[in-house]
């Protein structure tokens, strides 16, 4: 079954290659134009150094990429490597054109991955020693772990760009992402008394502290996190006591469980005791897209924009 698409992909690859050769051949005088594909051939071999792990030398432009993490899938498509991606895992819901499969990044199956004949596997977790297994099958593996800081996001974008033959786009995108976020942050109103917020991960009141990646995004806007005192085990994701949320009475409530658990400003207002909360009364319960709030791809700008809008609204009223 997988034979047919593979053959077709190979044919496409041949066409793409000859096209690339042609453009390279007759495009010599237009070398400083910034549109990208033509540069990809001369980028290889390329050596990239993932944040965790040894330098990886990629000999040829990868044409059969398998991505096993939703964030990395988003980055791959955003840097323009989408056409080289043959399969993404079952969590990769964005962008819509990503070739979603049943592959799992949480419990990866090395044979199922190998079945796609990948020349580069991009993942964020070395679950079940999958990296070693893939290397045994002579597959190149790029491990881009979950971002801990915004700088990790920018570095990850550049890294994935460089590894896939889109170094310029990667740098561009990283710079643009950084610029957008910094602009949003600098445009944010400066408050004498910081607004407090609660970021909800699920309906059992798990939250994320300001040390976590998402917490740092809020930190850009000078918000103060009510989950911080609860983080005794410093894991970054404590479960808050219902009482303590009411007691803290945050100015803003961000819901990261709108898709998983159908939460909304309405459902929050209906929770026992929550109707009196400042955030509920002032209409400052913000429904986030679960995916945006849990990934660290280039769409982090959209997340920052949601936060920025919420802060504007809360301070102007």
């Amino acid at each position: 079954m997988s034979n047919f698409p593979r053959r077709r992909a190979r044919r496409l690859a041949v066409i793409a290659l000859s096209a690339a050769l042609v453009t390279a051949g007759c495009g010599a005088e237009r070398a400083d134009e910034s549109s990208a594909p033509k540069t990809s051939e001369k980028q290889f071999p390329v050596t990239v150094t993932p944040p965790a792990g040894e330098p990886l030398t990629i000999e040829k432009r990868p044409e059969r990429i398998v991505s096993l993490s939703a964030s990395n899938t988003e980055t791959l498509f955003a840097v323009g490597a989408g056409e080289q991606v043959v399969a993404v895992d079952d969590q990769s819901t964005y962008p819509a054109e990503a070739p979603k499969t049943k592959l799992s990044g949480l419990t990866p199956n090395v044979e199922a991955i190998a079945d796609y004949d990948p020349d580069l596997v991009v993942l964020s977790d070395d679950a079940d020693d999958i990296v070693a297994s893939l290397k045994q099958l002579k597959r190149q593996v790029l491990l881009v772990p979950a971002a801990k800081t915004l700088d990790d996001v920018y570095a990850g974008i550049e890294l994935i760009g460089a590894a896939t033959g889109h170094a310029d786009e990667g740098k561009d995108l990283a710079a643009r992402t950084k610029g957008d976020i910094e602009k949003l942050a600098s445009d944010a109103p400066k408050l004498k008394q910081p607004l407090t917020y609660y970021h909800e991960l699920d309906t059992t009141l798990y939250s994320a502290t300001s040390k976590t990646f998402i917490g740092q995004v809020y930190g850009l806007f000078g918000l103060s996190n009510i989950a911080d005192p609860a983080d005794k085990d410093s894991g970054g994701y404590p479960q808050l006591s219902n009482e303590s949320i009411l007691k803290a009475n945050p100015d803003l409530i961000f819901l990261g469980d709108t898709k998983c658990c159908q939460q909304s400003a309405d459902t929050v207002a209906k929770r026992p005791g929550w109707a009196n909360l400042k955030a509920v009364k002032d209409g400052n319960v913000v429904a986030l897209d679960d995916d945006l709030a849990s990934r660290w791809g280039p769409r982090v700008v959209d997340l920052a924009r949601s936060v920025s809008d919420a802060v504007d609204k809360a301070t102007s009223s």
Binding site: L205, S241, S244, N249, C260, Q262
Partner: protein, 353 residues
């Protein structure tokens, strides 16, 4: 602990009826635990101010608490304390009943496929219909309830078709539990995006409960409690042996069905609102046996009260020990229950039956 103070004579003179004094002590203990647990909590309101609030509610006076603080006391803390009591009572009396029915000290409410059935049904609901809202009680607790009852029924039918008897029934329970758990794991594996929701329910906890959960579980647990207390004498007879019970004109099979149904109903109601909280069903009845006597006329009602106290205390620790963070209540029940149980066992060497 000198061995002479108890031991030899105790089993013979152990009370077969619940003495009023013991009952009064237990009820007073429960009232004390409920009061303290309501006065203190994760939100540090100051217990004197909470007392003043309660007084204001009774007399219609002015309360020192703000609207939010009052909501913490009345809409979050008090229902949670009461629900913890209900769940603890349900699990402990169900444990006592299961031990009586199977004449097996290790029997607990989750033995006959109740937990596995609840877990499987909850998983399937989370995966299949996550978007149902606006029910009086969410689809997940309902499914857990049905799953628990279904698991026990399946065990019962299987056990009976294989010839009946307690040993066969227990084995059928083991088989049903592993079968249902396998289905649950498989469904989870196919739907990793919802895995977190399922796990956080299974870990158990009362963090986000309110009066609605209290009202939903109260009728079932009350009914089951009444049935079990009324059946306590029959369980005592059953403990002597099936033949002896039959010669006294009691149908052992029918008693078992009634008691199992009532205990499963209590378990299912508890599981539906609190998830899987282990250890209560084993520790509390045994502690009661060791402290107050082994007759089921003592064990069932005291387990009910003791289980309520135990879980209220455990939940109190869960919400205050690391406040404002929560600790999973299952961790607390095992962490405080196990040493306490060992202590009671040591004080009463050789009396576990």
């Amino acid at each position: 602990m000198p061995a002479t103070s108890h031991g030899t004579a105790k089993p013979a003179v152990a009370p077969t009826r619940l003495r009023p004094a013991v009952l009064v002590v237990a009820v007073l203990g429960l009232v004390a635990v409920v009061s303290v647990s309501t006065l203190l909590g994760a939100a540090n309101l100051g217990w004197t101010r909470v007392v003043a609030e309660v007084w204001a509610q009774i007399t219609g006076g002015r309360s020192p608490l703000s609207a939010t603080e009052a909501a913490i006391v009345w809409e979050i803390r008090l229902p949670r304390v009461i629900l913890a009591g209900l769940v603890g009572a349900a699990l402990a009396m169900a444990g006592a009943a299961f031990q009586g029915v199977f004449r097996n000290p290790l029997a607990d409410p989750f033995l006959l496929g109740a937990a596995a059935g609840a877990g499987m049904a909850a998983t399937i609901v989370v995966v299949a219909a996550p978007s149902v809202t606006g029910w009086i009680i969410g689809p997940l607790p309902l499914a857990a309830f049905a799953g628990a009852i279904g698991g026990v029924t399946l065990t019962w039918l299987l056990g009976r078709s294989a010839g009946g008897g307690t040993a066969v029934l227990l084995l059928a329970g083991v088989a049903v539990a592993s079968f249902l758990t396998a289905i649950q794991t498989f469904v989870q594996q196919l739907n990793t995006d919802t895995i977190k929701q399922v796990y956080s329910w299974m870990l158990g906890g009362l963090n986000t409960t309110g009066w609605r959960e209290v009202l939903v579980t109260l009728p079932y647990i009350t009914l089951a409690g009444a049935v079990l207390c009324l059946c306590a004498r029959l369980l005592d007879v059953l403990a002597v042996g099936d033949d002896e019970a039959a010669s006294l004109g009691i149908n052992p099979g029918r008693v078992r069905i009634v008691v199992l149904l009532a205990a499963s109903l209590a378990t299912a109601a508890a599981v539906a609102v609190s998830g899987l909280i282990g250890f209560v069903g084993i520790v509390v009845p045994h502690a009661v046996r060791l402290l107050a006597g082994a007759s089921y006329r003592v064990v069932v009602p005291l387990s009910l009260l003791g289980g309520a106290m135990f879980l209220i205390v455990a939940d109190h620790i869960a919400r205050t020990a690391f406040a404002p963070a929560e600790v999973p209540i299952g961790v607390i029940t095992a962490f405080t229950g196990a040493p306490f149980f060992l202590l009671v066992m040591r004080m009463n060497r050789g009396q576990i039956r």
